[in-house]
């Protein structure tokens, strides 16, 4: 549970939105998505998702809010057409997490994160005990905390931790667990157990996991590797 405190302190210190990791869902090129090795779903579903995911990949934290919102809408529309698929809800929720970092004030950030929560809940109803959803849950908790760290770490710190722990218990090889854990440690001052010394082993763990991680299909979440590259550069 030490992370809880660490996060709190980190969040206090975080003046720039260091938490807003680059919005890049794919680890490599978007092209691979086009190759159809998906096991489930109709062609229309695959095509719509591939298109929506590649649109999302073309965005960055510098994109206007309306573009990210358009992506979120796009995924919500696919979710509406495919009520048995959890991935559209997952990506919709993830888009709202990014919006949560971009909102102009606390109220707006919370509004987006409420929407992230809604989509997460819908996804969990379709796919309970899914490690990616547990990671996403932790991500949302972290975003909530960053909105007002001083007052929120008590509530959301444990949720962040619980999300990561649940994800580990479901699939300890999911690299995104270590992406979230490591990047939060990186921005934590050393005297609170953070700093490069503590973050780098976790980030390296993330890199190792990425090298062996095989996404379930071409639409499955693949983000994380690029985000930690600038952090890993500090690990020399």
């Amino acid at each position: 549970m030490k992370t809880i405190l660490i996060l709190a302190i980190t969040a206090l210190v975080a003046t720039s939105p260091v938490w807003a990791q680059p919005i890049q869902t794919g680890s490599t090129s978007a092209g691979s998505i086009q190759t159809g090795s998906i096991q489930t779903g109709s062609d229309q579903y695959k095509q719509a998702m591939s298109q929506a995911i590649s649109t999302m990949q073309s965005r960055s934290e510098k994109s206007p809010v309306s573009d990210i919102l358009a992506s979120a809408n796009q995924f919500e529309r696919i979710a509406n057409a495919e009520p048995k698929e959890w991935l559209p809800r997952y990506y919709a929720s993830l888009s709202y997490v990014y919006l949560g970092f971009m909102g102009k004030d606390e109220t707006e950030k919370d509004k987006y994160l409420d929407q992230a929560d809604k989509n997460l809940k819908a996804a969990e109803a379709i796919a309970p005990d899914n490690d990616e959803l547990a990671v996403l849950k932790a991500y949302i908790a972290q975003s909530r905390m960053v909105v007002d760290p001083m007052n929120r770490w008590q509530q959301y710190g444990p949720l962040f931790q619980a999300g990561l722990e649940k994800a580990k218990s479901l699939n300890a090889n999911n690299p995104r667990i270590y992406v979230l854990e490591g990047s939060s440690l990186m921005y934590t001052p050393e005297q609170f157990g953070g700093g490069p010394g503590n973050a780098c082993p976790v980030l390296k763990q993330a890199t190792e996991k990425f090298s062996t991680f095989k996404p379930a299909n071409d639409l499955a979440p693949m983000w994380g590797q690029k985000q930690i590259e600038p952090l890993l550069a500090k690990c020399k």
Partner: protein, 724 residues
């Protein structure tokens, strides 16, 4: 005409090519403003689009009929069955969803600290990080508007009310002994640690029909749902040493604490104004267990036991030596368990609880036995039905059996009271801007064999995006003090009527709140002794009593908090004004009671210093003088003590020692070493004596300091914020 022609052509081509129809339209809010980025689509299909920057949308569909869905963040979703052949554009107006910003909240009389609600003026952290509060909930509340600081007495003195008129309620259950046993002329701390609670709501009047038996105030404390620590923690400071253990599993958690305290180390460093014969010594333990048996249910059990011992010679003008020996051993047992659950997607919810407490003081004044004990068994159940549009209806009942026992210089008194209450309360929203809460509470007390029926009403109106006004009126009853009831059980309830008007504006991390009130006191107990006024605070009532007393309190208070203007600095200012007179107790004429100070000001500042990872706070309080009884002045309670002021500082620092988390904290109270006087007392007029001499009653010590620290020994340890 060219573009139109072109459009038609294009449309015709698409139609013929794929037999698809085009849907167009515009999405707006109720005021007709465009909503860009809204999601427009047909249910169960891939057909849909986002609205553009002017709120317009356009997409095609091969369907003939479908349900058109429109969603937009912060607005109620829209759905409508449509046939797609129609060529006229759709005009869709969305309604804003009710949320904390656009919906009025009833706030008159209440001051909340909560993590769950976003629009509160305080956060639970504020209670522990405020200098001068010493992590004591009551002390923190005493810095809020509407309170009067009474240095030598225990409890909350709210808007002209005495300490007995405020009740402390944990998870709906009244706590019989919320404070450590009172000592002569010394203020006692609350028994409960601030971080047991996730939410604190302090009412300065006009409170809900859910609560009763408090003429001026209720302090509502809600316990946390899970532990925030894991593993073993050790804490040591100048007053005590404590061990804590926490463990949580998926759906349950347990916390246990044990402590031993002795004020010898502190007293050897901080000069005491008291003559201690047995330095306060205390030990205790507590156990908390929380279980989530289902997704919605929550069972909590809390139990604690503590023991304390102390002895002193306190200043007693009525004694020829000027001092009286006081000895006390206290034993306190408190347990409460609650069960909450909800059904039908939260439309029905239940809050229920059972609590038992036993408290005993073996007390002697000189050689005389003044022992006392109290016992309380209480049960409570509240059923809430949520209705559409945020409306709700609440129905509840509570019952308690309380036993008091007192020894007065050897004479034994005892009293049992069976108390029952039912209450109903509705909350109605007339649109987003106006809310009305109506409540009714009926009570019966067996000791006086009387009923009462107390209506309560409060309403709030939103005057702007960030501001609102609230109004509250209510009748409040309280069974007379048990010391009167020992002699006279024909007394009636004491009564207070509150009228409160409140205005607040919360915007951009700045809060301004002003509240004005009028309180009318009726049926107050008066005592007729046939003797001159006796100012001895420990006297036991002996005279004839009736309910012919009355009084009033009126005033206003102001709160300003700013977390924005100076980066990193959070400060707040409160000012409370009260004017009050009463005819009660032994008063022969109406007068301002001794616990009233007309003006109370507090200035609070805190800042986190990132480089040294230290949180620092300063608090300055000023209270104007209070009346005291001067037997040589023929005007009753016409004299005033000097102003009381205090500047205090606190700091906490977080670090690691060998990978274990360590928190160090320090505080300095009364930095300026002001020799504050809380009240004056007079020696009795003795025949042949030197005449009546005045004694000053002041604080236990003047400038004082405190240091301590804690370490979490578990590898997974996290700081215990209790000790920050």
């Amino acid at each position: 005409m060219k573009p139109v022609y072109f459009l038609f052509l294009l449309l015709g081509v698409t139609l013929s090519a794929s037999a698809q129809s085009t849907l167009t339209g515009r999405v707006m809010d109720q005021k007709g403003r465009a909503l860009p980025g809204a999601n427009v689509f047909l249910q169960g299909t891939y057909d849909g689009a986002n609205t553009d920057s002017t709120g317009n949308f356009r997409f095609t569909s091969a369907k003939d009929t479908a349900t058109l869905l429109v969603s937009y963040i912060g607005y109620e979703p829209f759905s409508k069955k449509i046939s797609i052949g129609q060529s006229t554009p759709f005009t869709i107006r969305l309604t804003e969803t009710a949320n904390e910003l656009n919906t009025v909240v009833i706030t008159a009389g209440s001051f909340e600290a909560s993590d769950e609600k976003r629009m509160t003026m305080l956060k639970p952290m504020d209670i522990v990080t405020t200098a001068g509060a010493n992590a004591d909930i009551t002390a923190a509340m005493n810095l809020l508007p509407g309170t009067q600081r009474v240095g030598e007495q225990t409890g909350l003195f709210v808007r002209g009310g005495s300490g007995e008129e405020a009740k402390v309620v944990i998870d709906g259950m009244i706590v019989q002994n919320p404070y450590f046993s009172s000592m002569p002329d010394l203020q006692s701390r609350g028994r409960f640690q601030p971080f047991m609670f996730k939410g604190t709501s302090f009412s300065t009047g006009g409170y809900s029909a859910q609560y009763g038996q408090a003429l001026s105030s209720v302090l509502l404390l809600n316990t946390t749902d899970k532990t925030q620590n894991e593993g073993l923690g050790v804490s040591i400071n100048l007053a005590n040493a404590a061990l804590s253990y926490d463990h949580a599993t998926e759906n349950s958690s347990i916390s246990a604490t044990g402590y031993y305290g002795n004020l010898k180390p502190l007293f050897s460093l901080v000069r005491q104004n008291m003559d201690w014969t047995h330095v306060p010594e205390f030990a205790g333990s507590s156990l908390t267990y929380r279980l989530q048996p289902s997704k919605t249910g929550m069972l909590k059990f809390y139990g604690m036991y503590s023991n304390s011992r102390l002895g002193m010679n306190f200043i007693d003008p009525s004694n020829e030596t000027g001092k009286t020996a006081f000895n006390q051993r206290n034993g306190n047992f408190f347990t409460t368990s609650t069960y909450t659950d909800s059904w039908a997607g939260g439309r029905w919810s239940l809050n229920s609880g059972l609590s038992y407490s036993y408290d005993t003081d073996a007390t002697t004044f000189d050689v005389y036995d003044f022992g006392r004990s109290s016992e309380r068994l209480q049960g409570r159940a509240v059923l809430t039905r949520l209705l559409p549009a945020n409306n709700s209806l609440l129905l509840g009942t509570e019952a308690s059996r309380v036993t008091y026992r007192n020894a007065v210089a050897g004479t034994q008194y005892a009293l049992h009271d069976n108390y029952g209450a039912v209450f109903v309360e509705s909350q109605t929203y007339l649109g987003r801007n106006l809310a009305v809460q109506l409540g009714l509470r009926g009570e019966y007390s067996s000791v006086i064999s009387r009923f009462n029926l107390a209506p309560r009403i409060s309403m709030a109106y939103k005057t702007g995006t960030f501001s609102q006004v609230s109004l509250a009126y209510g009748q409040f009853y309280q069974t007379p003090d048990y010391r009167y009831l020992y002699h006279n059980t024909s007394l009636n309830y004491e009564r207070a009527d509150h009228l409160i008007l409140n205005y607040q504006i919360i915007k951009n991390k700045r809060t301004f709140r002003v509240e004005t009130f009028y309180k009318n006191y009726a049926q107050l107990v008066r005592e007729f002794t046939g003797q001159p006024h006796d100012a001895n605070p420990y006297r036991f009532p002996i005279g004839r009593t009736d309910n012919s007393g009355n009084g009033y309190a009126q005033g206003f208070d102001i709160f300003w908090r700013d977390q924005k203007t100076i980066k990193g600095l959070d400060y707040w200012v409160t000012y409370s004004y009260v004017d009050s007179k009463r005819l009660f107790q032994q008063f022969a004429v109406a007068a301002t009671p001794t616990f009233i100070s007309n003006h109370n000001i507090s200035l609070i500042g805190k800042r986190y210093f990132e480089k040294i990872s230290t949180n620092m706070g300063l608090t300055y309080t000023i209270s104007s003088g209070r009346p005291y009884y001067n037997p040589t002045n023929e005007n009753f309670l016409a004299d005033r003590t000097p102003m009381v002021n205090n500047l205090s500082f606190s700091a906490s620092h977080i670090t690691r020692i060998k990978k274990n988390l360590v928190v160090l904290y320090t505080s300095v109270d009364n930095i300026l070493n002001t020799h504050n006087v809380f009240t004056y007392r007079y020696t009795p007029d003795r025949n042949g004596g030197p005449g009546q001499t005045r004694y000053a009653v002041g604080p236990q010590s003047y400038r004082s300091f405190f240091v301590g620290g804690m370490i979490m020994l578990s590898k997974k340890a996290k700081v215990n914020v209790n000790d920050l």
